[in-house]
Symmetry: C2
Subunit: 153 residues, 2 copies
DNA sequence: GTGGTTTAGTTGAACATTCAACCATCGGGG
DNA sequence: CCCCGATGGTTGAATGTTCAACTAAACCAC
């Protein structure tokens, strides 16, 4: 039996396209800045941030993947690169012989510390400077709702 | 002289992280659905959509890149793939011998028509169903402001 | 404790994107 | 007319990401 498609009305259409365009340009811009200034894509920056905030600057691979919003496979490849750059080290997990622990090296921390101000400045300039405080609040609520909706179902 | 970094306050921090997480999961989800159901990534789908809406279902490569929010290089590679799939054809531009025109084939149009209902349903389920009408309106304004801000500077 | 299932993580191949270098053509100023 | 900078587009190499297949260890039921 044919199920009727719930097409988007003009307002929704406009919203969806604006969202697509804005998020694409925003992420592209930040990604390019980060690549230029810190020599790494935004996804790698996020991995380093998560590690830097974890107790002992280390996390199990799975937890790191979860925290950084990455698949396991992607993380495996990424950590291999980060390890080659000297920013991350792998260690065996003492309590689970299957496990691997990724830990941020001092060099990795220093690189992150050097990259952070420029990146934060970019986020501020490209995102927050354009929005009113009310809009920032709206964006937070929308994003939190959305994240919950998406991971919930 | 050292310039003080304008760090993010806790609210901004929370907003930024929520936004990152939500947009990542949203796009990942839609991308996976589209790959599964239509055999193409979302970026390719967008190219086909733009072509389908252009007069004569065709566009110069540069305009198509602009419309789809893609770099020229990326578009070149993508169109090569789409051409191999039989969904797009290239033709020489009659008024500018440097130019190339990408045009949507009937097969490409049919593929797009088959993919659209499922994709729209996904956008609705994952995005609009989670938000109130007021939030949809807010998201539209935020996105439009942001897009203007980013492409303006 | 034995066997089956789930979990942790890696791997390689296919695919997608970026970056810089490149060729060809267009268009304007002398 | 000719040169020169700008524009349109492609290419190949390096880099990232995805997908499916795989190994190994843990967990669990019996």
């Amino acid at each position: 039996m044919a199920v009727m498609t719930r097409w988007l009305d003009p307002d929704e259409q406009r919203t969806w396209r604006a969202y697509l365009a804005a998020s694409r340009v925003l992420m592209d811009t930040l990604d390019r800045e980060l690549q230029r200034d810190a020599g790494m894509p935004h996804a790698y920056y996020e991995i380093l941030v998560q590690l830097s905030e974890a107790p002992g600057r280390q996390l199990r691979m799975s937890q790191l993947a979860q925290a950084a919003g990455s698949s396991r496979s992607r993380l495996s490849h990424a950590v291999a690169r980060l390890e080659a750059a000297g920013w991350v080290r792998r260690e065996d997990c003492p309590t689970d012989r299957r496990g691997q622990i990724a830990l941020l090296t001092d060099e990795g921390f220093a690189t992150l510390a050097a990259a952070a101000p420029g990146h934060v400045e970019g986020v501020r300039r490209h995102l927050f400077d354009a929005l009113s405080p009310a809009q920032v609040d709206q964006l937070r609520r929308i994003s939190e709702t959305l994240a919950e909706h998406l991971t919930g179902s």
